[in-house]
Structure formats: C-alpha cells, structure tokens
Amino acid sequence: MFRKITTKLLLVISLSLFSINFISAQEGHEAQHEKHEAQHEKHEATAHEEEKFDIGKMIMHHISDSHEWEFAHGLTLPLPVILYTKQYGIEIFSSKRFAEGNGVYNGYINNHEHIHRLNPQGGIDEEVHVWDLSITKNVASMLLSAVILILLMSTVAKSFVKNRGKAPKGIQSFIEPIIFFIRDEVVIPNVGPKYEKYLPYLLTLFFFILINNLLGLIPGGANLTGNITITLFLAVLTFFITHLNANKHYWLHLVKPEGVPTLMLPLMWVVEIAGVFMKPMSLTIRLFANITAGHIIILSLLGLIFIFQSFAVGGVVTLFTLFMNAIELLVAFLQAFIFTLLSSMYIGSAIEEHHEADHGH
C-alpha cells in the first residue's frame, strides 16, 4: 500500500504540473506516518532514520548515473550490466539481479553505482579492477537520443531529396531553419571559408546536445548532458579537431606571439598554454554546470514539497518549478548553441589564414 501510494506520489510530483500532487503528498505523509507507528515497536530509532527525507541524497540520486532506469519509485527499467575483469572475463547480466540480491550478485557488489568484485571473505577485492561497461541510464538515454536523431534526420534528409528545389514541407520545415541557422550564423562566420569540412561534426554536436538537454528535462529522463563524462568527451573532441587541423600560424602564435618582447616570452608561453587547455575545460564545465544546476534547482524546489508538506508551499513551488522548467527549456537551446558556437570559434581560430596587414599593433 505504502509503496503504491509513494509510487503514485513520485510519478505525479515528477510531472510537477498539477496541484493534485499536494493531496498525494499528504497521503504519502499519512502513509509514512502509519508505517512509522507499525514499525515503532521493533526498531524505534533506526526506522525513523531510514524514513527521514534526505533532499541532498534525492537530488544526487536523480542527477547521477545509475545501473537501472527508475522512471518513478517502483517503476524501474532494468538495464544490462556489462563487466570486464582480467581475472574473470566478461560478465553480462540484468541490473535486476543486483536489486534482487540487495546489491550483490555473482561475486560483484553494486556499491552506490560503483561495481566491485567481492573476495571470498565478503569484502571488496582490491586486486581485481572491474571495468564497468554497463548500459547505464545515461548510456540508454544516449542510445535513445541517437536513435531519435537518426530517425529524425534521415526523415528530414529524405524529404529534402524528395522536395529537391522546392519549398520545405512537414518536419523538414522545422529542422531546416535550425540547420540554416547553425550553418549561416554559427559555423560560416566563425570557422571561415573552409567550413564545409567541419559542418557535419558541428551539426551533430548541436543536435546531440540539444536533444539530450531536452530529453533530460522530461521527468524520469537521464541527466546526460549534465554528466561531466559526456561534456568532457565533446570538449576533448573539439580540442582534437581544433589542434589536428591547426595551421602553422596557430602554432607559431603559441610559441612566439608577435609584438611581445623576448623577456616576456616565457610568461606568454604559460598564458598561451593555459589558454589552450582552458578552452576545452570551460566547454566541459559550462555545459555540465548549466544542465546539472538546472536539474538541481528543479529538484530542490520539488524537494521543498516533501520537507514542508504543506499546500501553500506546494502551490508556490509548482509555480516556481513551472517557471524554472521554462527557463531550462531556454537553457537547453542556449547551451547547445553556445557549445557549437565556441567549438566553431576554436576551430576557426586554429585554421584562420594569417594576414599581415590585419595584425593590429
């Protein structure tokens, strides 16, 4: 009974749109209370500790990666766990096994989403390094976004080929202005005349970030673009593309910037090299922090409902959450745009043709 009500409660609240959740909250509170009384005799103190709502833990749980996809409490999609160890080889099993075995299965333990090998004594075996290649919630979400992108874009491409030389139609007319915008406003002005080589990457980058930002906003969705692994990967990719295509002016500028006195050169090297690595770093952190912060704000607001358990707070919080969701929607587009824009600028600065006359002293 308790489980069912809480499931309903979390499902409804996570939608964050209807004021009905306050009633459910009250119900949940009552149910919790009943359970408290039932368990009161057995474990007085421990039961209380367990049931206490920890908002920090809840938020961390929602924005972190997980081996199973929990849409709502009790509504969980088990995902495949894929492990590789030098000693035991590849192991593939469902994350349901961990749930059933209370976090332990077949000699592996899932300790806060970190999987370790257990030694015969039941402790963590430090000798064995577990390579965790599981299809986690984030990976599943990423695959979903990839499928959506492939279906969407191949449909658009088909309709482009079909309507060759004609006005756009259907979904094409929605996607086309975005492609136009990225090409004409972001890539061409920043990358320069050799933009065509980088356009496929930058377009993929933009749409991948955008679609994952949007998927992340759906209640129950994964926080993929708010995961530092993803943003780091994309930033490093941009870094490599930039530096593998950089021309000699770019490198020369790093080693010996023009108009700098010889004595100042070592200082400039430090600054320039810091700048080179600061660029991907800022890309990584900007996207990660923006998306994660947005999720944290929304979750904190919703958490207030659980902490105060009052109608008044619920009403205000619902309005705030609605507002934040709208802002997050804006941020989803904005951050995808900024990441693409900055990537274009970095690539553009590395392949830019050097003109002596343009160099202002």
């Binding site: 961390m60 924005i63 972190s64 990666d65 894929i82 390579w131 965790d132 290649l133 599981s134 299809i135 986690t136 984030n138 990976v139 990423m142 695959l143 990839a146 992108l149 492939i150 874009m153 191949s154 658009v156 491409a157 482009f160 080929v161 060759r164 030389g165 004609k166 086309e176 492609i179 136009f180 090409r183 065509e196 356009l199 496929p200 990457y201 377009l203 993929t204 749409f207 991948f208 995961n227 530092i228 692994t229 993803i230 780091l232 990967f233 994309l234 990719l237 994660t292």
Partner: protein
C-alpha cells in the same frame, strides 16, 4: 566529487555512439541535406539573377523603344513642317503666278482693245471719208438742178449717213 569524476564505461559508450552518430548522420543526413540546400540556394540565386538580367533587358528595350518613338515623332514633325512649307510656297507661287497671269491678260486685253479702237477709228475715218466723198459726189451732181433740192438732198444724206 562524485559528479566531477568521469565514468569510463560511459566514456566508452559515448565515444562509440557519438562516433557512429557523426559518421551516420554525415553520410545519410547532413551531406544530402546540405547539398540540396545548396542546390536550392543556387537555383534561387540564379532565378534572381535571371530576373535582374531580364529587368535590365526590359529597361534597355524600353529605352530603345522610346528612342525609336522619339525619332519617329521627330521625323513626322519634320515631314509635316516640310509639307507645310512646300504648301505655303506653292500657294504663294500660285498667287504670284495668278497675279502675273492676270496682269498679262489685262495687258493683252488692253492692247487688243487699243488695237480694236485704233482699227475702229481708222475704219470710221475711212467710212466718214467715203461718206463725205459720196455726199460730196451727190451734192455736186445735184448742184446743177436746183438749189433747194440740193439742200434737201444734203440734209437727207446727212440723216442717212448714220454714224453707227
């Protein structure tokens, strides 16, 4: 700190999925889309350029037409002017000629009249002379008989000799 630690598994899948995504979308989405976008842009641009050229040509044609029209109008005006001048001249000439002719006719007539007059007068003189001679002859012939009858004769002769 948990949030800031990259996960190796996620990185692996990300690299795989994103790599495939870039390659797939490049081949099956971006290149067809971008090429047909470009094609459409080119066709629009060429259509616009053609429209511009046609407009210029039209303008040129129009100015040519205007020129031709102006020339034709000038020609027409000139023709009218010339015709008018010729007409005027003809009228003036005709008038002059008529006057001359008239004068000539009048002069001729005058001359003829003069001649007639001279001829008539001379004839009259001749006639008078012959009458006078005749009268004189008859008078001379009657002188022999009677004086009164002579006088009657003379008066009858005079009345006979009507100067017509």
């Amino acid at each position: 700190m948990e949030l800031l630690t990259p996960a190796i598994g996620l990185l692996f899948w990300m690299a795989l999925v994103f790599g495939i995504l870039v390659l797939f979308l490049k081949k099956f989405a971006w290149l067809p889309i971008l090429s047909s976008l470009k094609e459409r842009e080119d066709s629009i641009e060429s259509a616009l350029r053609m429209a511009e050229e046609t407009r210029a040509e039209m303008a040129k044609l129009k100015s040519d037409n205007d020129k031709i029209l102006a020339e034709a109008r000038a020609e027409r005006d000139k023709m009218i002017r010339d015709a008018k001048a010729i007409t005027d001249k003809m009228i003036i000439d005709a008038k002059e000629k008529a006057v001359l002719e008239g004068n000539k006719i009048i002069a001729d007539a005058r001359e003829a009249i003069q001649q007639e007059k001279v001829a008539m007068v001379s004839q009259m003189k001749k006639d008078m002379a012959s009458f006078s001679i005749e009268i004189a002859e008859r008078v001379i012939r009657r002188e022999l008989s009677d004086k009164s009858s002579q006088e009657a004769l003379v008066s009858s002769l005079i009345s006979e000799a009507k100067l017509n």
